[in-house]
């Protein structure tokens, strides 16, 4: 099975356990894809009004995050925050700034590095 889909399911469980965090994202509608640069793995998650509505293995999204598979898994499994690989160029993001700032905030709350 696609390892990123498994990892995203764990991330979703951690997110769903935080109603305060979900409430803060009310009104946010976005599809986020994570694409591994060193394998064919990818995963997408759909958020509507701050609720995760769908996880799939598509690569089309409003925000596309690209890094090696190990880094993406580390982030989704909350072993590592996204800031460090982002700052040093190992993880890139493409999409609207307000979407990935929000994503950065969620990742920061769930994984306080």
């Amino acid at each position: 099975m696609n390892p990123l889909v498994n990892a995203m399911s764990r991330f979703a469980r951690a997110y769903n356990r935080r109603p305060d965090l979900m409430a803060e994202q009310r009104g946010w509608i976005c599809t986020i894809a994570l694409v591994a640069s060193d394998s064919s793995a990818s995963v997408a998650v759909r958020l509507e009004n701050g609720l995760i509505t769908c996880i799939s293995d598509q690569a089309e999204a409003d925000v596309v995050i690209t890094s090696d598979e190990a880094t993406l898994r580390d982030i989704l499994e909350l072993r590592r925050g996204p800031n460090e690989p982002y700052l040093f160029g190992d993880l890139t993001v493409r999409g609207r700034e307000r979407d990935f700032l929000r994503l950065d905030y969620i990742a920061g709350v769930l994984c306080p590095e």
Binding site: E24, F88, V93
Partner: protein
Amino acid sequence: MSGPGTLALVGAGCGTGIASVCAIGMLQIEQLLGGLWSVAAVLLAAALCGLLARAFARLSAVVPSGAGLLAFLSRGLGRQSGLVIAAPYFLLTLILVGAEATIVGTLLARVLPVPVAAGALLFLVGTWALCRAGVQIGYRAQAAATAGLVLCMAWLSMLAITGAADRGSLASALIPHAPSAVHFMAGTGEALFLFMGFELITSHAEIARSPRAIGRSLPISVGVLAAFYSLVSLGFSCLDAKAAAAGYRFVPQLAIAEQARSPVAVALMIVLSLLASFTCFNGALLALSRFACALAAQGTLPRRFGRLDPRTMVPRKALSVLLAVAIGATALVGFGGALEPAILAAAIAASLVYGCAAWVRERPPFAEEERGRGIRLVGRALALGLFALGVAVAVDAGGARAGTLLLVGAAYGGALLLARRARPARLPEPAHGD
């Protein structure tokens, strides 16, 4: 994707490059070289930045990251080296904010009954408060403010040039004695300072309409900046540089406005300079606060600065720290005589960081396998040439040398401490699933 296109990115690149403090930099070059030699230094710096623009386009195509310089240098040279080289550039940008605030204070003191220090503080705190509330200047507003300042200064420079021609002093203004080679190199190094920030176009890679828009807007920005600075440099040549430096130390743009003998021209220059300073500081404060927040989130800076405000998505605590640093930098410039050292230190940091960018462009993962040996040698020669310009600025700093080296030393010392704290943040594998 409906992100900024080439025109908007050119506006952002030129808007970041053209700050009010650039007028002081141009006056310094004018005093060092003068006339057509100043223009030659600006054009040589522009040619180097043109080559750098191609290098940055490649860096951004391989690593399209908003982290920009730090991401490129880290991928090319390693994380700690990347941090040690890039962080001083950002720190010295913040010191330049002190110069920018002092300029704003001086401009406000010309039209309002407020002391310079109060005007500077008002500018810093006002811009910080807007950033804290999540207000970010849009591309169109920044482009409009920049275009207004460019057109106004270009018009006034033309007036200065035609005025000198009418007085019959144009030839003597434009053709002074030839400077020494070291003076010319130092002037070119200082001219690099005028272009500082054009490369920040690469930090828009994540949201740009297309990757090609980034590649196109980099050299166009350099071209626009080169034409603008060359014309204004000619305008400054037609003024009495010594008188301008004495009477308008912090605001030489007013020297060029007041020679037009029009209150409207002076008022326009003040308003446009204030707008340019505001758009520059707004962008710098938001970008640097996110950088500081990201470093804090991974423990390189105190972690309490690493939180985004959930409503505005702005790192408020990091912003407050930057405000404190900016106020300190303003005091250093206004009361500590650090204006010239701040500009020279920024020019040295720009030379080093640009040289390193040219160097990493010829290294993995940026160098193409099929890239010829000759072109790689040209890239490395560009890097060495840029390093040499930084050295020339330090050698030729005269009375400002001690202050310049102190600022450079403090910035790189601080960066070394940051790099020592930087480490890969990774928690162990979970024992049972999640």
